[in-house]
Amino acid sequence: MELLERYVHQVGRFLPRRDREDIQDELRSLLLDRLEGAHQLDRVTGEPEEEALVDLLKEVGHPRDVAASYGAERHLIGPTLYPLFTQVVRIGAIVLVAVHLVLLVLGAVTGTIPNLVEFTFDAIGNTLGYFGAVVIVFAILERQDVKINLEEEDWNPRDLPEIDEPARVETVGHFVGIAFNLVVIAVCLVGWRVGGVPVVANPWAETTIIPLSRGLLLAAAGLTAVQVVIALYVFLRRRWQLWTIIVNAVADAATAVPIFLLIIQAVETPLGSFEPLEVLMPMMRTAFTLGMVAVVAINLIEGGVKSYKLLRRG
């Protein structure tokens, strides 16, 4: 039954959230009906026989294909090509975002920082252009009735991942994390170069720099870089391991310390005619310190729980 649930869960991953649960219930019911009809349910427990279930799942098809068959009737890109289309879009988007972020970080390191607004619009324009080009190519392939066989010709239901697999890497979330960390590194390096955060108090004022500790900025950039390296390593391995979970959790927690100390420094610095309110300062310092402790604790607990789950699964 566990294999059946893994299969149904995998199908659900490719379905729109709105219909997911309903289709999953129906699919589960259908598969059990099929097994029952072929007298392949255990008479006592009502559980399916594993061999029969594996054969049935192979016959019904790869979870991605089953999910694709629930798509709309008319398609710009049909169920046959859609899985490949999403792969191409996803990989291309990841590469594009990564290239832009690396350019941003390189700019911060070498001091040739581009105009951020122009840079952002360029990045968005390039991404949309890429997406449009991929859609057009796949729409043409669809019209030409091109059939592309993906690797699941000999897929084995027994290889389906666990429903709650602590070692699994969620590609999109993973790359969002890397992108965010690269932005943090870029900001810290810019801050390290100029000795603080450049801010504009009002539209008529010139840019002023809130001075920040260069040591803390470098520490934040370095610890975030550790997380990026770990994330890239994990992506290449396609799995979290115990040591990567622990190092990542510790680096994540440790990064919170310089970041919060920098925030406290920034808040306490007078900006133009705005003086920090002395009465509020102790309260804000306490609030940020508590925030820092909470973030550190959450990261360590999260890493601990994930490690425990991984160890328990052996």
Binding site: I23, E26, L30, G37, G46, V60, S69, Y70
Partner: protein, 110 residues
């Protein structure tokens, strides 16, 4: 020969896709769940894969031609589909169209 078989299979596939809606609507005057409907169709000589039938049932329901409800009184919950009043009206017209097509094709082919 292989090319002929391929072309024949392609056309048959298109023909079956066209008639399957009619076949499904015609068998749902009484409520049926997916697997029982597959068996009913199979017994009459029309084998339909679940990958085709289940999404089709959902689409027909979304178009208002079928109605469905989950029944939990049996060994496991099952979703039963039945033709809706709109579905009945559409089926009646489709049957007329079908008779016309059969008669026309009969004249063309024989």
């Amino acid at each position: 020969m292989a090319e002929t078989t391929e072309q024949v299979e392609k056309v048959i596939g298109e023909l079956r896709r066209g008639i399957i809606v009619l076949a499904v609507l015609s068998r749902l005057s009484e409520p049926q769940y997916g697997y029982s409907l597959m068996q009913v169709l199979s017994q009459t000589g029309l084998d339909v894969e679940e990958g085709t039938l289940y999404p089709l049932l959902r689409r027909l329901e979304k178009r208002g031609l079928l109605e469905s409800e989950w029944q939990v009184g049996e060994s496991r919950p099952r979703r039963y589909y039945v033709i809706s009043p709109l579905g009945k009206a559409v089926l009646a017209e489709l049957v007329d169209e079908w008779d016309t097509i059969v008669s026309t094709m009969d004249g063309l082919l024989h």
